[in-house]
Amino acid sequence: MNLFKEIIFLLRKEFKLEWRQKYALSGILLYVLSTVFIIYISFQRVSPQLWNVLFWIIMLFASINAVVKSFVQESGHRQLYYYQLANPIAILLSKMLYNASLLLLLSVLTFSALSFIAGNPVEEAGQFSLALLLGSLGFSITFTFVSAIAAKADNSSTLMAILSFPVVIPILLLLVNLSAHSIGLLQSTMIGRDIMLLASVDLILVALGLVLFPYLWRD
């Protein structure tokens, strides 16, 4: 129960921190809006197929920018201070949860911006929201953990991109498949299996992150 309390407390800390330095959040929002606008100017007419791919590519780059700061931004000394105060597992979980909610917000925003400009091709809203939820979770888990790895090195921002892009591709492919189905581009009878697969990949990665993190934070 103690761990649960710690997570809640740390989550509140993360939200408060974000609220106080609004530039980070507003920077990412502006990033999403300008990317969507660039896409509109370059394509003008966006077919559903293109819409699907573009949506997830915007999401990929926006979320890597949003998540990279979670471990990289805080200095080593301050992190050491956190680890003295709280359980490292609680710190990792709170960062993952916080990033997941941030990415969920980001994906809703990207979705509304893209559908405002390029139209909304989504036919099955429930399935698409499930894709958004699982995608935010998967991106957040992978990127948070990779940013914890990259924060240990000196050239962390380059390393973040190199390490996280190949690792996230399986999740991204499953997501593109799932949302293509919700848009009506794919006729698959085994969509339940795809959802299960995505959820289990998320679950495996979070379990692995929890097992490996104690080896990571100690210096």
């Binding site: 992978t142 953990f145 990779v146 790895i149 240990k152 090195a153 000196d154 050239n155 390393l159 190199i162 390490l163 892009f165 190949p166 690792v167 996230v168 591709i169 399986p170 492919l173 499953l174 498949n177 085994m190 795809d194 697969l197 990949v201 495996i204 990665l205 692995l208 992150g209 490996l212 080896y215 990571l216 210096d219």
Partner: protein, 350 residues
């Protein structure tokens, strides 16, 4: 010798796979039947081109059938051997076929005492002018396919699209298996390192991973050459090819990560963590996603799975040893890299 026998064994097995894999001839096959498309109610003269065949040695005993399904077949009325690679077959196609389809494919079967039986699946298509299955059933002059010969020699099967490239099964596929065995053992060493922080375990993991990447590149290159001959292009946007490129990127990132640390203990610990994490994402990449989407590879998207029909017993005699041989060679190479790195460190410390 007591300690190093496995290195010699690996070399001997790989050499064996080279000799057996490249020198064993293919079974007699049929390259093509011309014309491939005929009509009902005609006397048809088929020109059949053989591969690795010796038709002149079996002059009078050469027999041929057009097989429709497991029960029905047409026997050739006349067989005329032109030379070793060319034979002319005359068939009387009945006026009606016992099926409701407009176009029916027939499998061409040739049997000779010198070469054994050879098959061309869906070699001849018969188009019906008018469909009457009941009439076709009664008028069907059925011929039993019996007493097929078998060639008493060690041969590999002949498959129509593959041809001689079937030999790549002993290089492309075992390299993949060996790569996976090396990656798995690297992960085992990474786990071992995290259990007691012994530097050597991490260096073992790095050495095994680098040989694994070498095998991965070799597997990709042999696969691309094979794809050029069978699918028509080096890179066919096949899901397994793409996923493999991504997998190699993951392991490339592993070495970039290693290079970015000065402190050897930190480097060992963090790259061990990344190695385990990356391997977990590699499994859906290489084994789950290719099964969900269409692939030109066997075992995906409705293609027959590997091992069910593709391997016969002579191929197994080369294929399975080749996996063991390449794995042993890979472990040996990893040992050499590992020892070289240890010596380098020792030199730098002095």
């Amino acid at each position: 010798m007591k300690k190093h026998w496995w290195k010699a064994l690996g070399v001997v097995i790989v050499l064996y796979s080279f000799f057996m894999g490249l020198l064993t001839p293919l079974k007699t096959g049929i390259l093509e039947a011309n014309p491939a498309s005929v009509r009902t109610g005609q006397e048809v003269m088929l020109e059949v081109k053989g591969y690795n065949s010796f038709y002149t040695q079996a002059q009078n005993e050469l027999r041929a059938w057009l097989k429709m399904d497991s029960e029905r077949a047409l026997a050739a009325r006349r067989v005329e051997v032109v030379d070793d690679r060319l034979v002319k077959l005359t068939f009387d196609i009945p006026a009606f076929l016992p099926v409701d389809k407009k176009v029916q494919d027939f499998t061409l079967i040739l049997d000779s005492p010198a070469d054994g039986a050879s098959v061309l699946p869906s070699g001849v298509f018969v188009t019906q002018d008018s469909i009457n299955a009941a009439l076709g059933e009664t008028a069907w002059p059925n011929a039993d396919i019996a007493n097929l010969h078998e060639k008493a020699a060690i041969t590999f099967p002949f498959r129509n699209i593959l041809g001689e490239t079937i030999r790549n099964t002993y290089y492309h596929v075992p390299l993949w298996f060996a790569m996976f065995i090396l990656f798995i053992s690297a992960v085992v060493y990474s786990v071992k390192h995290l259990r007691n922080f012994d530097q050597r375990y991490d260096e073992q993991a790095a050495a095994l991973t680098s040989v694994g990447i070498l095998y991965g590149i070799l597997g990709l290159v042999t696969g691309a050459i094979w794809a050029k001959h069978t699918w028509g292009a080096y890179w066919s946007f096949d899901v397994k090819q793409n996923m493999t490129a991504v997998g190699l990127l993951i392991y490339g990132a592993y070495f970039v990560l290693r290079a970015s640390f000065e402190d050897p203990e930190k480097k060992a610990r963090i790259s061990a963590v990344y190695n385990i994490f990356a391997f977990a994402t590699l499994i859906p990449l290489l084994y789950v996603i290719p099964k969900l989407t269409d692939s030109l590879h066997p075992g995906a998207g409705g293609n027959i799975a590997f091992g069910s029909q593709d391997l016969d017993n002579t191929m197994r005699m080369v294929f399975y040893p080749a996996i063991i041989g390449w794995t042993l060679m890979g472990v040996w190479m990893a040992q050499l890299i590992f020892r070289m790195n240890r010596l380098k460190h020792r030199l730098l410390e002095e």
